[in-house]
């Protein structure tokens, strides 16, 4: 049961990054892909009906983590106190920027929110990557299962008292930025026509190249920073499927971008992100939060809720997730297709 919940929570978080990832990426590229008010509105219209729903996956994943692994939730959220609260502020700025930009017809007002939308999106992508980097590298848990991490200490991932930001987590943060930028650019390419479409494709290509440049050192360092990674792949070699998915996605991103096929390129960047995140989860299992001193690590066993709580939770969770998937399919089907100029007139 604990293993099942580990997989389900990991998948929910992955779903969140896949979905909110493209609207974060859209925020990163919109200053460059859209040059005038009409084009900016087109990009906002492309994510307008869906971004809020995408963000619900974060809340749903957080809530599910909370009741299935309450010890992990308590320990990690209090230990990552500062970066989490900063993420909350960024989510606020960004959400408000998307919704309020076009409410007042004033170029200064619109430019201000365009800037905030860019800044919030880019910083969130970096923070989410750094968060993943922290979980992979391990945190300074004590024997009572708690820790508190400063934003930075000595920037050394091999330190006994690492900070949130060190050169490894920053590297992962930048990788997240380029990967989500490519993902967002691919989504915008799918949803738009003409000039915006062409610029999105060009940005996607650049972000793809940057992703390759960053992914190679990031992969090598990951094996050195966290010994669990190689141990997991040696003891369970079938797990190599996950990095292969990522590799396939990475190749597909470039190939389909070159062939100008936007939808397959978008699915490829999705596969790349899916592969990266599932590889990370696979290589840490059964740890959920590795400690600098391995004896203090939180695992699916010592961090979990009772058997009963996890079992009853599974029943309603399955119903809820089926319903949620139905709404998502309906929404994305209803709003499928390219955004046309007239579409940006609708909405309140």
């Amino acid at each position: 049961m604990q293993t099942l919940w580990f997989i389900l929570v990991a998948l929910m978080l992955t779903t969140y990054i896949l979905l909110d990832g493209f609207d974060l990426g859209a925020g990163v590229i919109h200053l460059f892909a859209a040059r005038n008010d009409q084009e900016r509105r087109t990009i906002l219209r492309a994510i307008g009906p869906v971004w809020d729903g995408n963000e619900v996956w974060l809340i749903a994943a957080g809530g599910t983590l909370f009741f299935t692994f309450p010890i992990l939730y308590a320990s990690s959220f209090s230990g990552f106190y500062l970066p989490l609260i900063i993420v909350l502020w960024l989510l606020m700025v960004r959400g408000v920027a998307v919704e309020l930009r076009s409410r007042v017809q004033n170029p200064v007002w619109a430019s201000f929110w365009d800037g905030m939308f860019f800044l919030g999106s880019a910083l969130l992508a970096i923070f989410f990557g750094a968060a993943l980097g922290n979980v992979i590298r391990g945190v300074p848990l004590d024997s009572s299962g708690t820790f508190f991490q400063a934003l930075w200490t000595d920037f050394n991932p091999y330190s006994a008292n690492p900070g949130i930001l060190d050169w490894y987590t920053i590297l992962i943060g930048l990788l997240a930025l380029t990967a989500l930028t490519a993902h967002g650019a691919n989504y915008i390419a799918v949803k738009t026509l003409n000039a915006v479409n062409a610029r999105a494709r060009r940005i996607s290509r650049l972000a793809w190249l940057a992703t390759i440049v960053l992914a190679i050192p990031a992969t090598i360092v990951t094996f050195s920073v966290q010994p669990l990674v190689s141990a997991s792949f040696f003891s369970r070699p079938w797990g190599v499927i996950f990095p292969l998915i990522a590799l396939g996605g990475l190749i597909g991103m470039g190939y389909f971008n070159f062939r100008q096929r936007d939808m397959p390129a978008f699915l490829s960047s999705g596969a790349f992100i899916l592969g990266l995140l599932t590889s990370s989860a696979f290589s840490l299992y059964p740890d959920v939060l590795p400690a600098v001193k391995p004896a203090n690590s939180l695992t699916i066993y010592n961090a979990s809720a009772s058997q009963y709580a996890q079992t009853v939770g599974l029943v309603w969770w399955l119903i809820g997730i089926v319903l949620a998937s139905i709404y998502f399919i309906i929404t994305y089907r209803l709003f499928r297709g390219k955004i046309r100029p007239a579409d940006t007139e609708e909405g309140y």
């Binding site: 307008g48 809340i59 809530g63 009741f67 709580a309 939770g313 929404t331 609708e346 909405g347 309140y348």
Partner: protein, 457 residues
Amino acid sequence: MSDSTILSRLQFAFTLSFHYLFPALTMGLALLILILKTLYLLRKDEFYNTSAHFWARIFAVTFIIGVVTGVPLEFEFGTNWSRFSAAAGEIIAQTLAMEGAFAFFIESAFLGIFLFGERTFGQRMHWFSAFMVWLGTWASGGFIIASNAWMQHPVGYTMTPGGRLHLSNYWAVLLNPWIVPQFLHTISGSVITASFFMAGLGAYYLLARQHVEYGRLFITLGVIVGLIASIIQIYPSGDAEGLQVAKYQPIKLAAMEGLFHTEQGAGIVIIGQPDPATGTIDNAIIIPNVLSFLTYHRWSAGVKGLDAFPPSQWPDNIVLLYFSYHIMVGLGTFFIAIMALSLLLLWRRRLFQMRWMLWILLIAAPFPFIANIAGWYTTELGRQPWIVYGLLPTAQGSSANVSAGNVQFTLIGFAGVYLLLGLLYVVLVVFEATRGPKPAVEEHPPEAAQGISQEAS
């Protein structure tokens, strides 16, 4: 209680109070928009649809501020109350996660369709999306009340020697008897808020002689729905909550009523300033026997005062608790009076000409927000010194690993961000209100609308 715990309480109270101003409006407004949309479909008069659009614009901006200020609350359980989360997470987070799975997904999906899809998907889908948004917002409220109800009145748990609380009966938690009265009370409070808001803006339009037709509709709808909700607020929901508090949390009852000494035939304090040091109420106006009647429905029943309980069990801010409760009840009483008088004048067809009554409706509009917040302060301050009533003290629920300096940093940050959000919200609502409801044809030339419907078909 450590500095870090006190600051965490301040931060949670601040972020929650600010957040709740927005759902207090949207839960009620979702119902009123659904009514407008239904009127449009029944009467086929574009007037109602334009009104629904206008309120949807205000709903959307309120909703988005509610969403972005709501996310921190779930996170703060973990960041600031980690020992509580570790001890009770598998119970309290069942209902929190259910809110995500069963309410937020509905709200976000159908709000997207409601705001962006009317012309493309047609009127029936649009009505249905309004219905689902209403359902989602109320369901969301229900799950949050279920979580709070468990903290007020824990059920369906077992406690390990180490102090961890395990879920033992899921249905007991979901069917906690505390939920129904509190949900009804919260929801009717929200409907009152939206009704006063709508009626107040309608009154403004009549006073300013703008959008007069819409102003009359907003007043009519606001007053009718507002009176019904104001009555439900007192009876049955307020009454049932009072009985429940008397039965399970007699200390809270004594503190909020300012009853320091146990009495037979206890009187109710209408006004006065409590002094916990001396156990007296200064400048008190007290109606004899009424508290006994309200609590036990008998005039001479004995009601336990604070002196019946050890001071260590008393809420730690009796004065604020007392004032919160009295502000809530006092305002609630005014609300019924205002709405009843307005409805009487409306029925006699004189309301729209009575400028002094329109002024009262306009000035009354912000007060339900205060009453809602005061109500939450009553229930939450009255729960102290417990985070889970009778099981886990608040001082043992905070994050021991987060220092006071860090909490102060984030508290100041929240204060700054929320100040800006609040200003922004007020500016935008004033902007929308000044612009007023506009029929669709003025905003979109008919040719453009034609083009889209052809593309869609």
